[in-house]
């Protein structure tokens, strides 16, 4: 089973839509492993409605990345629409950015450009073949992206960095009539609506986590695509070394870090 990481009341409008992340009940909204028991333990008690079937084709390490990783990304990508029509810019190549690249590839994107500044992440995006172009964070990123796209800019951009400048780059490097989605959490953004948004008829979407039903549909597709989220895992730790895992993750010098049980520790 995969666990949708937030349990909601089940009867507010958000829960009825499947977005328990947005549950409006102060009493019942509880994240597993935070306001209620859940993560980093051998067993956990979960509500049936919070569970998604994990098909045999996927490992636990695959499934563990769906809830607040691939699922969150898929929601955002469905909002802006990604197909073979779209060159995509991804600002920020942490686990969410890498998941974005992996999903955009399967959705058909013929050109995927990533921006980051941490060498390990940039190398990973290249080595796993997730991005066609990886460029270092710099003041002239907009010009670089335009150069890589025949002068036009990308049709779609996804911010996974939460950095102010990267968000503005995502908007500015997007082509006329294009769409941008913000996934990265925190911080601020500042831009100039006339040249950046209005004159090119662009649209900026905010997107938060996903619904249980879209998460379930994503799982069906992961199998269909033979896409294994665990391929983004660069480091695995047993439960008793979890502190090391968090510390490595916080450094950013890695892909996805997984805490696994014996059978998936390799």
């Amino acid at each position: 089973m995969i666990v949708y990481h937030i349990s909601g009341c089940g009867v507010c409008n958000d829960c009825r839509r499947g977005y328990m992340i947005s549950c409006t009940s102060a009493r019942y909204r509880r994240a597993y492993g935070w306001q209620r028991d859940g993560g980093m333990a051998e067993f956990m008690l979960a509500e049936e409605k919070d569970l998604i079937w994990l098909p045999g084709e996927l490992s636990y390490a695959d499934g563990a990345q769906v809830a607040c990783g691939f699922g969150t990304v898929y929601e955002g990508l469905e909002k802006i629409g990604i197909s073979g029509n779209d060159s995509v810019l991804i600002t920020g190549l942490g686990p969410v950015g890498l998941a974005t690249a992996a999903l955009c590839r399967k959705l058909g994107a013929p050109l995927i450009i990533g921006i980051d500044k941490i060498p390990e992440r940039m190398a990973l995006a290249r080595d796993l073949g997730l991005c066609d172009e990886v460029i270092a964070s710099a003041d002239d990123n907009v010009e670089q992206v335009r150069k890589l796209t025949g002068g036009f800019g990308v049709e779609r951009a996804v911010d996974c960095s939460a950095h102010d400048a990267a968000r503005a780059t995502a908007i500015r490097a997007t082509r006329k009539w294009g769409r941008i989605v913000f996934l990265g959490e925190g911080g601020r953004v500042e831009f100039n609506p006339s040249p950046d948004l209005i004159h090119d008829q662009k649209t900026v979407f905010g997107s938060w986590v996903t619904s249980t039903w879209l998460m379930e549909e994503l799982v069906e597709k992961l199998v269909r695509w033979n896409l294994h989220p665990a391929e983004l895992v660069t480091h695995r730790f047993p439960l008793d070394r979890v502190a090391e895992a968090y510390s490595l993750m916080a450094s950013g010098r890695c892909g996805k870090v997984a805490v696994c049980f014996d059978e998936e520790l390799k």
Copy 2:
């Protein structure tokens, strides 16, 4: 006839879409009354493709407000979608904001809230029955709008002010899953994506002028709705007093200002 105020090359992608405002030909893109002769004269020479039929039901003063007024607004409203489902917030009650209110009413909006700080504009919005609620620009505008909408915020917001703070208000006073469109030109905007956009799954659209074909469809609807843009005109001047007209408009202490020929001077 109504004149679409920009003449384009006719064969670039933007012109083919009908958006001559975005014509990419440095040679052929020419605004009437700016880069080519046009406004504020008794006669003008225009391309057939830039003309929209003015039906007998509409006056010249009605038609003159379509191109870069009601048409621009209608494009933005079509992007975000307005119907009887939607309470609407309008930040900025100049001619574009008043046109927004007039069109939202005809599209079915049951509650229209306007924000401005110029007393003449606020009074006009109230007196013409265009806004149901008019509130003065202030730091607590978001709270005021929430209060007027059962605590939820509006389903749609339209910025016609181009002011940084008003744009942020438009975003923040919008309800979960809501849509915001920026029409006002110039300046900057700054906000906090997580609380302002991401967590409430909102979308911000940029919208610039409109196409010739949507402008034509708007004209058909103005007749159907019996909506006369000239009702927003508070002051009319003959051509030889055009300087006064511009000066009044610049003060902001008025509705729409029209320069008319004898028959429509009243």
Copy 3:
């Protein structure tokens, strides 16, 4: 409380979307008053998740028409989009057709045309002011609708009749780029795709019942609009005369028929 009339398993993809009507569990999918106890009784036992709050502004007779009446219609109307832009044709003026007219009015539709053949229903649509034009079912309905819409046809059509010919009329009387939704259950339809659908770039939607969350949103809007579904009720019966109620409904010579308790029997 309002009861969503089908109880589902709660964990299949359709239930997670809120569409318990489409629950895929043979074991748990149960309509109240059909496969499980529910309708036409003084008390009933219902699952919390199947209940929608009935606000104080609405009566029980209002609420009783939401689940498989106004809710079903609202889902269809949201699929095709109705606003002040749209003239609407409704084929079939039974309770579903009348609810369509009532909702289209609140969504902003400036012209609502109804077609039926039962005089009582036609009179009701006119007398309640729900339709602007009511025409008798006939071979030349398409021409009549075009005549009422400046030769263009309607922007939107809703079939509430389930009759083959009326469905074809709904498609054919719709304007270029228009949308049609089929709500009426049963029967067949036959048409000629090239002239009827393809050349005019039209779209036909099927729509079935609705989700719990959209039903909840409709209830919020009924209050906002001051729209009382009970206004469509032409006849009220106490529980012990329920057979008469069904018999009258089957005749079609009425509006909505309600079975009520003392307080709402008038």
Copy 4:
């Protein structure tokens, strides 16, 4: 240059949208090679507005298939949306059906199923790798398609056959919430709305040719995708053997048939 095959008046609403195919001017609407000179000649006189730039990467035989072949298909596919999310059924594997398969592949579709009855066409779809599965037209096509899609049916279907039964198959073999587009011209269709469309919340689109601007965007993408429509050409004829070309095409026992000048006759 590529010629959009219909010249319109340029100023009716349809022409302004770029859909000259739908030009409403009886006087100016003229197909090249039909109501005005154009096809099957060494030279032709065309309006500038009817021309699309043919990039150096594409041959004349590529370009000749854009206007009423790949362009028509692309319009339909954009209406229903095709990405890596979508298994696609194509009913009818003539040149339009093969173009559909080629474009769906580039848009990301992971599974493409074709239905036809002419052995040459079925073999072509297989040999060119355009369809993943090719099945012979038969009474149990719906069951076959469901079997190939885990029991669900396809997310998208495109009718390129214009046959009544194939159109019904396209609708019936489509999954819940799926979309179908009709491209094939002529004939009729008959189906049962409740099981075929309503209960599964499906949508049927009609789509006719395309606009000049979308055709132009397609050309940009053909280059980006390195997709050469001429690969569908199985037979080439010089201008003086044009009768043979038409006769072969009418037999259906071929892919696309091209009439070429020396340089592209091979």
